[in-house]
């Protein structure tokens, strides 16, 4: 047996994984270097064993308790994050539905005001003082009649005027007193805000249809 073979084998023997065979024993009996290595390896194994026994952890239960507490806190945090995600998703969905509905509804309201052949012309938007909008009984012939339940205009909000023919029902909705027997249409300037909703109406004297 060569020294190289012996050194590989003696490490395993010293570690207690195998027992020295005859070949190794014979080599150790004749080779002083390998015998010294053998002794050193055995001594090292004993030292390492002592070291292993000396390093037994002392406070396992305490560490475990600390980690379990962290585990519980972590689970709680994860649940909160999941809950927040669910709520955010729900909020986004609701907002999306509202936004889609608004986008869908807006053209409809515009259609009501600008639809048909009755629109004669529309003026460029500009600001109108809120004080100009009065109830029907105070507005007079040339004044703007405030549409009931219309929200007050925002500061700086501009209004466009849409001229169109309004029938009896539309005039009533806009707060104008109408003779129940009258069935014709009347030309009116509808003041439309930036939100697309009517804010006020001004009647002209041109009326069509029957009285």
């Amino acid at each position: 047996m060569t020294c190289e073979c012996a050194s590989t084998e003696l490490v395993e023997c010293a570690r207690g994984r195998t027992s020295p065979d005859d070949g190794l024993e014979a080599h150790l009996a004749t080779c002083e270097d390998c015998r010294a290595r053998w002794e050193a390896e055995r001594e090292l194994t004993a030292h390492l064993r002592a070291m292993r026994l000396a390093s037994v952890p002392a406070s396992l239960e305490w560490s475990k308790a600390v980690l379990l507490r962290e585990f519980d806190a972590n689970r709680k945090r994860e649940r909160q994050v999941r809950w927040m995600w669910a709520m955010s998703t729900a909020a986004i969905l609701v907002l999306s539905v509202v936004a889609v509905r608004d986008v869908w509804m807006k053209p409809a309201s515009v259609r009501v005001l600008s639809g048909g052949t009755s629109v004669a012309r529309a003026y460029a938007p500009r600001e109108y003082p809120q004080e100009d909008f009065l109830p029907a009984e105070e507005a007079g012939e040339k004044g703007f009649i405030r549409v009931p339940f219309a929200l007050p205009p925002a500061p700086g909000e501009t209004f466009g005027i849409v001229r169109r023919q309004l029938d009896q029902a539309e005039l009533v909705r806009m707060g104008v007193s109408v003779d129940p027997a009258w069935t014709g249409t009347m030309q009116a300037d509808v003041l439309v805000g930036e939100d697309g909703l009517a804010q006020a109406v001004r009647l002209s004297n041109d009326e069509m249809g029957e009285n």
């Binding site: 050194s7 590989t8 490490v11 570690r15 290595r37 050193a40 390896e41 001594e43 090292l44 194994t45 004993a46 030292h47 390492l48 064993r49 002592a50 070291m51 292993r52 026994l53 000396a54 390093s55 037994v56 952890p57 002392a58 396992l60 560490s63 475990k64 600390v66 980690l67 379990l68 962290e70 585990f71 519980d72 972590n74 689970r75 994860e78």
Partner: protein
């Protein structure tokens, strides 16, 4: 029948704290010993073992059972943490702690144990890894190879080389201690 580490991990991820506790009891002490021998500091070892489990319980743990065992992953994390701690600066001396627990005092005195600690700390990391896993943790070459992520033959050769270096360092250390006493 004992559940595997990976099964316990899977249960733990679903919120089973008992599974987490069992996993800690199974792997915690060995990880702490490993970190102690690799870092040479009991407090660093405690910190490392704790951090391994903290990382394990995080939602974005990068453990993938298709790429290796959970045990290997844990040792890998511990090894990296020890490296980070050692890079920060010298760690405290472990001698007092080791001497305190020395139950083979009659056979091996505290001095030689301290010398062994010092010699082990001076070994290159790859060699130290081999000694700690194979000799101190008593893992087989196959288990150590899985943990170290290298072939079995490499583990064996590293261990043999490491033991040779360790024996020589230990001998020098003990001789120096003896000289100092005289």
């Amino acid at each position: 029948m004992q559940r595997s580490d990976e099964e316990l991990y899977s249960l733990m991820k679903k919120g089973d704290r008992e599974a987490f506790g069992e996993l800690y009891e199974r792997r915690g002490p060995a990880l702490r010993r490993y970190a102690l021998h690799m870092s040479g500091s009991p407090s660093a070892a405690e910190e490392v073992a704790h951090e391994v489990f903290v990382q394990l319980m995080r939602a974005n743990t990068n453990f993938d059972d298709k790429r290796g065992s959970l045990e290997g992953w844990m040792y890998g994390v511990a090894r990296n943490l020890v490296r980070v701690i050692r890079r920060k600066g010298p760690v405290e001396e472990p001698v007092d702690q080791a001497v305190h627990h020395d139950i083979l005092g009659d056979l091996i005195n505290a001095e030689s144990l301290a010398a062994l600690h010092t010699a082990l700390r001076e070994l290159p990391v790859l060699y130290r890894d081999a000694v700690v896993l194979c000799d101190l943790e008593e893992k087989s070459y196959e288990e150590s190879a899985r943990v170290m992520g290298c072939p079995v033959g490499t583990v064996r050769s590293r261990l043999h080389r490491a033991r040779g270096l360790l024996a020589a360092k230990l001998k020098r250390q003990l001789a120096a201690n003896e000289m100092a006493v005289r």
